[in-house]
């Protein structure tokens, strides 16, 4: 069953994106809010922000028809209403934040599952009940019961029910843990003497049933011939404290009790400090059946004109749309001056639909009226907010702030942005094709003006390219912020009290890099806290006085983004790692030849974990391998460094733009071939002495005491070339991963930066990648060059396997 209305499908993307952002944002604020010593010390702006976030999620989830998410968000919103209004009597900060994080995780999880049609909507009622319970605790028990009593189910009496149906209200004693279970037993017993038609709450198996029964009581609707027998059964029921026959009149009495209480609420503006004493105030309550009390009020006011002078009314404008609602809720206040109060009262009482019309006295202490007034208004706000979901929060300050924030950001589909990027790079290439066109060279005339304009054009296109590139740039802080959560959770379970410090988090990198960074960073940070940072006892023993710290920093270095995670923990023992590597059979050369750097790089090898114990967070040795692979996928490198006793540093280096590659372009015959510069170690001309051919015809190049296989690019790539003697061409010693070889080309053209374009999918059948070709690139002059895939070129079939595995 699809989770949404078909009409909502189109909104799904936006909903997922926006709600995802909001939740990320929420986590950030929660982290900040949690720093506060006490709930009462949380910044008001943060509370308002959380409140607004939950409200938005609630609204958009409801719009998507996701009742479960909406209700959960609503519960969180209620919770923060209490905090914002400071109506709590007691607080429990850790319980609150645990619950909030749990809820935020639950919402995030639900978002992820949304697109999966097989997964049903998650039932959050457990979590919601927890939040309600905590909210009740915050407010203090007394208020809880008082409030929920009002929440009498409105549908107890059905208009269509037969007149011989009896309704009993049962109250269970407070000590009864599971009234719903008792109720089920009771129903079974009742079955012998009566026919139970309906109960409220309807489903005893529902998680919320217990709460409802405890709050409002259990209503049983039944048809019976023997009321006495029924009442006997009810009285004998376990834990039943009280039962009574419930009638529609009683319901009315209870519900009307609520408005009766409201009589004390006098809206702001009824009494003004400068009102003369002769001014009388009447409140007119209209009956509920009156559809438009404002119209009745206008007629009434006109009639009053005969006896009295009406100064003003509250609500002031009876034509306003909201006037009806206000009158229905608070009543109509009429301020008038008259000589004949009796006549006025008579007239008011005789007004159509008027239920009551009473004079209202000015509160005893006039100066105070101004102060309590806003409070009363807020109370009403709470009512409207909790009752009607559709109405936006009546919170004025943040509401005014919100649109301002939205206007400075624009959400654009990534595809559109990529298209723009493509177009701009085409323009840049075309620009250089035009301005350096070979046709211009043959021209006799001077091209001063043309040259001036083309320089101008170049400046503009360069700027355009920069701007478009920067569109995709986002600060790394988005990836960093998520780590706050990781460290917080781990601190809670591991009790290491590690602090996370950010440096250079406003460094901007390509969006795709930030997205990619999330997972690796999480693994690295987890490792740092779990393995790196010692327990407080160990730190004390080692004489470390500095607080345990994990530092995440970001910055640029030449053409790379450098992101590092540094901890001041135990560090790694090179000897221990080497021993373990030996045990695992990872060594490829004598132990003594390994440099410290090489040894530490074993840490990120698959299945390598020096941790003896597998913990909840790390130790299986899978994580770091994945990290390395993820980073290498985008052309980055992971470097590990460590000092025993001082701490370790994991550094990620990623090329600034993913698609731009440094290459060395060479010629083979008539073809232009580009070799990624990162894999070329050395280019040299070889002499005849260093060439070796074995009896099977394999060729090797002898270079500094070692033999490397010679790969003639002409042969390997099936290109015709006149240069067959290696001494006439250029040799390049290349290394990629574990593979090494010397490549032979005709001559070096230049080293340059190119934008790699993968081959058209139409050519998939040619297996070009396996043949050692990574793609092509269009150069500034419009010509093209083929870019080599070094791993498969050097490794041959082996390379393929290594890549697939």
């Amino acid at each position: 069953m699809p989770k949404f209305d078909e009409s909502m499908e189109g909104m799904l993307d936006t909903f997922l994106f926006e709600t995802g952002e909001l939740l990320e944002n929420l986590d950030e604020i929660l982290m900040r809010a949690e720093q506060a010593e006490d709930i009462s010390l949380i910044e008001e702006s943060d509370i308002a922000e959380i409140f607004r976030t939950m409200h938005t999620i609630k609204g958009s989830a409801a719009m998507m028809g996701l009742q479960n998410m909406s209700t959960l968000a609503h519960a969180m919103e209620d919770m923060f209403y209490i905090i914002r209004e400071k109506t709590y009597v007691q607080t429990d900060k850790s319980a609150l934040f645990d619950l909030l994080y749990k809820s935020s995780d639950a919402l995030k999880g639900e978002l992820e599952d949304l697109t999966d049609e097989d997964k049903p909507l998650t039932d959050f009622s457990g979590l919601i009940n927890d939040i309600h319970a905590l909210a009740a605790y915050f407010k203090g028990e007394a208020e809880k019961s008082g409030q929920e009593d009002n929440a009498l189910p409105a549908d107890i009496f059905d208009e269509n029910e037969p007149p011989d149906m009896f309704t009993y209200k049962l109250t269970y004693s407070d000590s009864c843990e599971m009234p719903s279970a008792r109720a089920i037993v009771l129903f079974r017993k009742l079955g012998a003497v009566a026919e139970v038609c309906r109960t409220i709450p309807p489903d005893m198996d529902d998680d919320g049933a217990d709460g409802k029964i405890k709050a409002a009581g259990l209503f049983i609707k039944l048809v019976t011939d023997d009321r006495a027998a029924v009442e006997r059964v009810l009285a004998a029921g376990m834990n039943v404290e009280n039962f009574e026959l419930f009638t529609p009149e009683m319901l009315k009495a209870q519900t009307s009790a609520a408005p009766a209480k409201q009589e004390l609420v006098i809206p702001d503006g009824v009494f003004l400090p400068d009102d003369p004493d002769s001014l009388l105030t009447y409140r007119v309550m209209y009956s509920e059946s009156c559809a438009m009390p404002s119209a009745r009020a206008m007629v009434l006011l006109r009639k009053l004109g005969a006896f009295a002078e009406v100064c003003r009314t509250v609500p002031a404008d009876l034509d306003a749309d909201s006037a009806d609602d206000e009158i229905a809720k608070n009543g109509l206040y009429i301020k008038l001056i008259t000589d004949d109060t009796n006549a006025v009262e008579r007239l008011l009482d005789s007004g159509i639909n008027v239920e009551s019309a009473l004079p209202v006295k000015k509160p005893a202490a006039p100066p105070k009226t101004a102060a309590p007034a806003p409070k009363q208004e807020e109370k009403q706000e709470q009512k409207t907010e909790t009752k009607t979901e559709e109405k936006p929060a009546v919170q004025k300050k943040p509401a005014a702030k919100a649109p301002k924030k939205e206007q400075s950001l624009l959400t654009v589909k990534l595809e559109k942005l990529d298209r723009l990027l493509d177009l701009v790079s085409e323009i840049v290439i075309t620009e250089s094709a035009v301005t350096s066109s070979p046709d211009l060279r043959g021209l006799e005339t001077r091209l001063d003006r043309f040259n001036k304009s083309s320089r101008e054009l170049k400046k503009l296109t360069d700027e355009l390219q920069d701007v478009v590139m920067s569109l995709r740039m986002v600060p790394v802080s988005t990836a960093f912020q998520k780590m706050n959560r990781v460290v917080r959770d781990m601190n809670n379970t591991l009790k290491k009290n590690a602090t996370l410090v950010f440096r250079g988090e406003d460094t901007e990198v390509d969006k795709s890099i930030v997205d990619m960074l999330g997972d690796p960073l999480m693994h690295i940070v987890r490792n740092a806290v779990d393995h790196g940072i010692e327990s407080p006892e160990e730190r004390l023993a080692a004489g470390k006085t500095h607080p345990p710290t994990v530092t995440l920093s970001a910055g640029y270095e030449s053409n790379e983004v450098v992101i590092s995670c540094k901890d001041n923990g135990a560090g790694m023992d090179a000897a221990k790692i080497l021993a373990k590597a030996k045990k695992n059979g990872l060594l490829t050369k004598p132990e003594s030849e390994y440099t410290e750097k090489e040894i530490f790089n074993f840490v990120v090898a698959a299945g390598f974990s020096t941790n003896e114990q597998v913990t909840q967070y790390s130790g299986r040795g899978v994580g770091m391998d994945v990290v390395k692979q993820n980073i290498e996928k985008v052309g980055g490198k992971l470097i590990v460094n460590s000092k025993l006793g001082k701490g370790s540093t994991f550094t990620i280096r990623i090329p600034l733009s993913l698609s731009i590659l440094d290459v060395l372009s060479v010629e083979v015959g008539a073809s232009s071939i580009s070799i990624p510069a990162s894999s070329i170690r050395e280019a040299f001309s070889c002499n005849t002495d260093s060439l070796i051919t074995d009896p099977e015809g394999n060729e090797f190049v002898y270079l500094r005491d070692r033999c490397y296989p010679l790969i003639r690019l002409g042969d390997k790539l099936q290109l015709d070339t006149d240069i067959t003697d290696p001494t006439e061409g250029i040799c390049m010693y290349c290394r990629e991963g574990q593979y090494e070889a010397v490549l032979l080309a005709d001559r070096i053209v230049c080293d340059q930066q190119v934008v790699v374009k993968p081959f058209s999918p139409l050519l998939d059948g040619l297996h070009l990648k396996e043949a050692g070709l990574a793609g092509c690139s269009i150069l500034g002059d419009g010509s093209m060059t083929i870019i080599l895939d070094m791993l498969s070129l050097l490794g041959g079939e082996l390379g393929e396997e290594a890549q697939n595995g």
Partner: protein, 144 residues
């Protein structure tokens, strides 16, 4: 990509061209461009009928030689040779042909469907007094 079946059922406009002595046609909706012979960068290790890549409006578009693709005799390109750019599911491919002849409106009555459903040639245009035209399926043609 335009649906070739539509052309064969209902008729429509066909771009006709020649390779060797034979006449071929593409459904006009499959064709996105006709350009004169561009500079082509060879793709190493690729079979001969894949001529290489051309820079077509900033994109690296593969070019195939129709003669070689259909196992005909190779011929040097001259000033009348050109590349027809066809579009296959938003991907582009250039097909080098000897010459482009015409755009003709073909009536359904003169089109015969090829019994080979997934072949290179999807149908034939057979009209009295005129050479036979084979309607090519660009998808099958361009996929290697």
């Amino acid at each position: 990509m335009a649906d070739l079946n539509e052309l064969i059922e209902n008729g429509g406009q066909v771009l006709t061209f020649t390779a060797g002595d034979e006449h071929f046609g593409f459904y006009i909706l499959d064709v996105s461009d006709i350009i004169e012979m561009p500079a082509i960068t060879a793709i190493p290790t690729a079979p001969k009928y894949v001529r290489g890549l051309m820079n077509h409006r900033g994109k690296a578009v593969p070019v195939m030689d129709l003669r070689l693709r259909l196992d005909m005799e190779e011929a040097p390109y001259d000033e009348r040779s050109c590349v027809i750019v066809v579009e296959i599911n938003t991907m582009q491919c250039g097909i080098a042909v000897d010459r482009v002849s015409d755009v003709e409106t073909i009536l359904p009555a003169s089109i015969a469907r090829s019994p080979v459903e997934t072949g290179l040639v999807r149908g034939f245009v057979i009209r009295e007094g005129k050479p036979r035209i084979s309607i090519l399926d660009p998808d099958v043609l361009a996929r290697t």
